[in-house]
Symmetry: C2
Subunit: 216 residues, 2 copies
């Protein structure tokens, strides 16, 4: 299974490409914004595709040609300019969904934020609300997009070493999770078709990642 | 026919309430953000409802109870903080759609911007693109919302006195249009069910507004 990793140069994305290249049955194509980011992925034996998420669907679609799944883990982050929030976190995600469809790719794994329900937009601080709204609409769009989706809602991200154990369910108590474990949850989702059509929150816990994903 | 005008205190909204109150068969309920904006609408004999578009769907829904149609002409404008663009132009519009449905109101007229196609997001300047994207997704959401919609895409808005004559079609050449004429196009759309399920661009032209709307 070949997987296009959108946002490969991000903090989660780098772990995802690395885990995919270490896996048995998966191969990564790292979608990156700049040519100079390519070398580190090529060193892992991964393919690369240089595309900007502000490019059009056709350009993104070319990067998705011949893959079996797309992982979207790009993000402007909550602290970039607000102008990028809607263009990357919402429009970039939706364009990638349309690009996947255009390339005939059905499987789509989206990394969302912990709580993207309507109530969470309302409850968010003024500076965080636009980010939650962008994530909310990206998630809602994917659920209506006729793709084999999985939406992952990780808790507060840390750079701790992965623990390999998580708690995953439709709703869990808010907690931390290392980015490395989020990447492992992504790979476990790709490897388990039972995650298709599901969305779940995930934080550090007591269940092995493969088991946690299988039990969703 | 009673019409909830969302964004009544805006430049187009004021014209809409005034034209509705002058019409034969329509009555307005002006949805406004602040109590002190109520007097001018009450002087026109219009009802008022004080609701903030950042309130929840339930609150907006109460304002829509008992009306036959909703006109959404609120907007953060292209020059407000980018954080408001997604919260008002997209999320405010979508919450109003959901509120209309919750209140059992089927008819929904949305005032969009001139060109909200995907290509227009791409073509827009960096500072304008987030606004176009928010409008794009609001339009797309409405088309999928199971409401009796009309989406109006006016040209460059001016404060000139209304001319009463426009050119309206799916695509027209970009040009100006007085806000007063946009308001008249809204009222003509409310009065003509042939506009249901349609979206059109409109600029100053040579056809009487009622005829132009009827010919869409």
């Amino acid at each position: 299974m070949k997987v296009l990793v959108v946002g490969a140069n991000g903090q989660i994305g780098k772990h995802v490409v690395s885990l995919i290249q270490d896996s048995e049955g998966l191969e990564a194509r790292a979608m990156i914004r700049k040519e100079e980011q390519a070398a580190s992925f090529e060193n892992l034996g991964a393919e690369t595709a240089v595309v900007d998420l502000e490019d059009d669907i056709k350009t993104i679609s070319k990067a998705a040609e011949g893959v079996d799944a797309v992982v979207f883990t790009a993000g402007s982050g909550p602290n970039t300019g607000k102008d990028k929030t809607i263009l990357i976190d919402l429009d970039g995600a939706v364009k990638t969904m349309e690009a996947a469809k255009a390339a005939g790719v059905k499987r789509f794994v989206l990394i969302s934020s912990f709580d993207t329900r309507r109530e969470a937009i309302q409850a968010a601080s003024e500076s965080f609300a636009p980010y939650v709204a962008a994530k909310h609409y990206a998630d809602e769009w994917l659920k209506r997009a006729d793709l084999d989706y999985t939406i992952i809602h990780p808790g507060r991200l840390t750079n701790d070493k992965g623990k390999g154990q998580v708690h995953a369910a439709v709703e869990v108590e808010r907690n931390e999770i290392p980015r490395e474990d989020v990447a492992a949850v992504i790979v476990a989702s790709l490897e388990n078709e039972a995650s298709i059509g599901k969305e779940f929150q995930v934080v550090t816990g007591n269940t092995k990642i493969e088991e946690a994903v299988a039990s969703i």
